[in-house]
């Protein structure tokens, strides 16, 4: 039963005005925070550094217990998982043999075309300190900051694909805005049709596709990757796959399981660029190359075509 005591009521009446003042103060804080002032950013960064060990210590036991539960749960489906993995290994072996032969061809072609060699990414891997929980915010704190050369805007990846990008850096920690957050916008392209678009988080499980041409026809299961437009993120990082909703609208399902993020890598050689008219490329259409510009003796996918002497 509830027991509303009169002593509580008296103290409430006296602090009612104070309560409103504090709510107003909080509202001011919210709007100041939204203005992204340097002073507030620095205070946030300093306090994140200060609170990081405490948060890590408080999260650790829960994470371990959750891990035990997951292990027990997965133990039940070990047999099916084993069968699935065996068939996947078989498929991958076939793909691997094809890829290795195509790789040699690709290298040869690159040499012929004198394509600029790709820069090797400098990567720093750090541990995720906080859980991405939160109804309105989807961010993760990692235990590497300015002292490791991390800067705002640098992309955060895992072995599967893009996790998000750095939004705040302090000396010892950095905050990563996950791609599922409502404030996250990533320029992407559909890998089958090469159409560019922008994916936006919804603070849920799926990402919405924005600025996709009406001519584009996405395919269910089509892979979506970063396009590199705008120069903020490197191209070719996996984002997820296209899924079709019951209403017929297309969404992107992220490839990453954000609940099980333990280690996150930051690509540190990709510096954030300011959006000036000089370095902004704009959204160049990523059309498939026409057959007329193909090299003689090669088809669209880069395979050799043996022409018969009669042709």
């Amino acid at each position: 039963m509830v027991s509303g005591k009169p002593s509580n009521l008296k103290s409430f009446k006296s602090s009612k005005n104070f309560n409103f003042i504090l709510i107003l103060l909080c509202l001011t804080l919210v709007f100041l925070g939204k203005l992204d002032l340097i002073a507030i950013r620095n205070i946030k960064a300093f306090l994140s550094d200060f609170l990081a060990p405490v948060t890590f210590a408080l999260n650790k036991p829960v994470k371990e217990i959750a891990g035990v539960f997951e292990d027990v749960k997965s133990a039940g489906s070990l047999r099916e998982e084993n069968i699935r993995l065996k068939s996947e290994v078989r498929k991958l072996k076939v793909i691997n043999s094809k890829v290795s032969s195509q790789e040699l061809e690709l290298l040869e072609l690159r040499q012929l075309l004198k394509v600029l060699p790709e820069r090797k990414n400098k990567i720093i891997t750090a541990r995720a300190i906080t859980a991405p929980g939160g109804v309105f915010a989807n961010t993760v704190l990692i235990n590497a900051g300015e002292d490791y050369g991390i800067k705002v805007g640098q992309p955060a990846i895992s072995s599967l694909g893009l996790v998000g990008y750095v939004v705040n850096v302090s000396l010892k920690t950095s905050r990563i805005l996950l791609i599922i957050d409502i404030n996250s916008l990533i320029p992407v392209y559909l890998t089958n049709s090469n159409w560019p678009a922008v994916v936006q988080g919804q603070s849920g499980k799926l990402l919405t596709l924005k600025f996709l041409s009406s001519k584009a026809k996405p395919i269910d299961g089509e892979v979506v990757q970063t396009s590199g437009h705008g120069g903020r993120l490197p191209p070719g990082i996996n984002i997820g796959k296209i899924v079709k909703s019951f209403s017929g609208k297309f969404y992107v399902k992220p490839i990453i399981d954000f609940q099980r993020l333990t280690y996150i890598s930051i690509i540190t050689n990709k510096t954030s660029q300011s959006m000036s008219s000089k370095n902004f490329d704009g959204f160049a259409p990523l059309q498939k190359p026409k057959s007329s510009i193909n090299l003689k003796g090669f088809n669209l996918s880069g395979k050799r075509v043996i022409e018969s002497p009669e042709n």
């Binding site: 509830v2 409430f12 925070g33 999260n59 829960v62 961010t139």
Partner: protein, 174 residues
Amino acid sequence: MIKHIKNFYYFYKFSKSILFFVFLFFTLNFQTSLSFFSIFEISTPSLVSIVIYLCIVRFNINPSNIILLLTGFFHDIVIGNNLGITSIFLLIFKYFIFRLILEKINKKNQEEWIYFTIIFIFSFSIVFLLNLIISFSLPELSPIFFHVGVTLILFPIINISINFFSYVSRLIKS
């Protein structure tokens, strides 16, 4: 002598507030870390609102406004939320508890689950609207419904467990 007693009283009050702050901060962290469990993958329940409600209504502990403000502020920094959002929620939540339960409507102190539901949904709606204004876009609603739903389901479970434990402890004492 009286001055010393006064000092001691203030020190006692201060230490009590600090302890309550640590407790609330711990609860908020625990709430966030629940997302490691696959059942709370979509969203985590608002344990802190259940804790505050029970503290005020059942255990007669009145958390000070400053404590709520600071707890919310630090929690926002930890999870990367907009600064002040959690503080606003906690302050509004406390205000509604006093306004609806202790001051006016529920003087008989019954049907607490319904009152908790009303208070929680009211306070959460205000904060949700504020977030909509700030972000200028409507987020996916399923995590929000899950958050509200799970919190409302958990409240009676926690309440009944507390009743059960107090009953058992009374039995043992007698």
